[in-house]
């Protein structure tokens, strides 16, 4: 579902990122990545661990300075975090001293939501993410799945039109991961924000995204870019047996040069 008639939300051109090291040449993490993301598009990025998948998200969010190339969001070059971009971390990054409701409220407060609407927005998200009854719990009292749910709530409260998600479900057990993926799709299908979703889980990438971009090992290049032609809404369980799903995941496995 490429929306070719509109300008891309994100344009990454020939992006190069290197980290300085003491006593060694800079560590090149991304070497010449180019990537466009259209409005409402759900793009997954997969690649070996340490391949710079998170790094590209940080560059798009303006948290990292590129060594070369350009990043723009909605046509504006990124130097500081753009207001339309929201970031979700692999670790939930919930503030441990804030309750679930207070953590979600941080998103509303920084997302420019009118003060009078904060409480309403927070309680709507608590219901949407099925956190009812845990509003006043502190993060340490929650399971991993619920913490990521609260973290997603904060992201949604911030209301970004472009969501950058850095292995958000990577630390969860398999079942919880499937449940969270389903929730994310339910929310995304209702609102169609653009998402760049980094994961090391190939099946998760194919199951969720419109497009899967495959990174090589460090320094990362893009080795493949697949359109995922699976119908929506998707049934995450039934899909795993379908021929198209299996073909695509197999193709990505071999791109990553991993023996079957």
């Amino acid at each position: 579902m490429a929306l070719t008639d509109t300008a891309p939300r994100v344009r990454v051109e020939n992006l190069r990122i290197a980290f300085p090291r003491p006593d060694a040449a800079p560590l090149e993490v991304l070497s010449g990545i180019s990537l466009d993301v259209a409005d409402g598009e759900f793009v997954a990025v997969v690649g070996p661990s340490g391949s710079g998948k998170s790094t590209i998200l940080r560059a798009i969010c303006g948290l990292l300075k590129p060594a070369g190339g350009r990043v723009s969001v909605d046509g504006r070059p990124v130097t500081t975090p753009p207001p339309e971009v929201g970031f979700m971390f692999q670790k939930d990054a919930l503030l441990p001293w804030c309750t679930v409701a207070e953590n979600i409220r941080v998103g509303a407060e920084l997302g420019g939501v009118a003060r009078a609407e904060h409480a309403g927005r927070v309680s709507a998200l608590i219901r949407l993410l099925r956190l009812d009854g845990f509003e006043d719990a502190f993060p340490k009292q929650l399971s991993g799945g619920m913490r990521q749910r609260a973290s997603l709530g904060r992201l949604l409260a911030y209301n970004p039109s472009l969501m950058l998600m850095d292995e958000p479900f990577g630390a969860l057990d398999y079942q919880t991961k499937i449940v969270m993926g389903r929730e994310l799709l339910r929310i995304w299908e209702a609102e169609r924000r653009a998402i760049i979703f980094v994961t090391h889980d190939i099946e998760e990438a194919v199951a969720l995204a419109d497009r899967v971009v495959v990174f090589s090992a460090r320094p990362a290049r893009i080795v493949a870019d697949y359109a995922v032609d699976l119908p929506r809404p998707r049934d995450l369980r039934a899909m795993r047996g379908e021929a198209a799903f299996v073909r695509l995941t197999e193709a990505i496995w071999s791109d990553l040069a991993l023996p079957a």
Binding site: P81, G107, L110, R130, A137, F138
Partner: protein, 267 residues
Amino acid sequence: MSDSATARAPAGNAGPAQGAAAWRTGAAQAGLILVLLALWEIAARTVLNPFWSSRPSLIAERIWRLALSGELWVHCSITLQEAGAGLLLGAAAGVPLGIALARAPRTAKVVEPVVMGLYGLPRVALAPLFILWFGIGLMSKIMMAFTMVVFIFMLNVMEGIRTIDPDHLDLMRSMRAGRFYLARKVLLPAVTPWILASFRIGVGLALIGAVVGELIGANRGLGWYVEKSGGQLDTTGVFTGLVVLMILAMLANQLIGFVERRTIRWR
């Protein structure tokens, strides 16, 4: 939801079992103190000469007499004012200094030798100077207490800021949080446990500062009472001052523990 089943119940505070355990611990603590006092009393009535060691019963009697005459309250309140004011001033100066230095690592590098030099200085040795500068009134003791604690706050807060999860800083940056919002939501809550720990350490040090000041030059306060009693070979008076100081430090510690439990429920 499959995953909510594994969540622990929110806000599971002290149940009856926990309350009973706390009582048992409290009883054991009180018991230990009583046993130690009893040993002292027995030793002073048998093997020790009470002229040197005094006796808990004599000390209790002295405390009772001082309390009745109102003298106890005068000395306690003077010493507490000195230590308390020094402690609060130390926090008021040390916390912002610690935050500022943690946020400006280059400046911190520049001032580090000076700070560590002052920190390493045995500050009790400043007492004669402070008496000269500030007189024998409250001010010299407040300054003594202040110099004892200010570095504790500063160094602890710096360490607290250093332990902040970088994800929290990136999160705030990604959502374009302002400086004030960042301080209110991340920096201050993150250093609160460190500030409270500083108070816990600082109580004793502030009392040392105040008492040392009183030993050198004063006409009131528990340190002065200890000094005066020592001059009169009144060991019971010396021990009385020390015991009262100890009780004050213990009460202050309890108070801080209480504040800690109330303010950092999230831990």
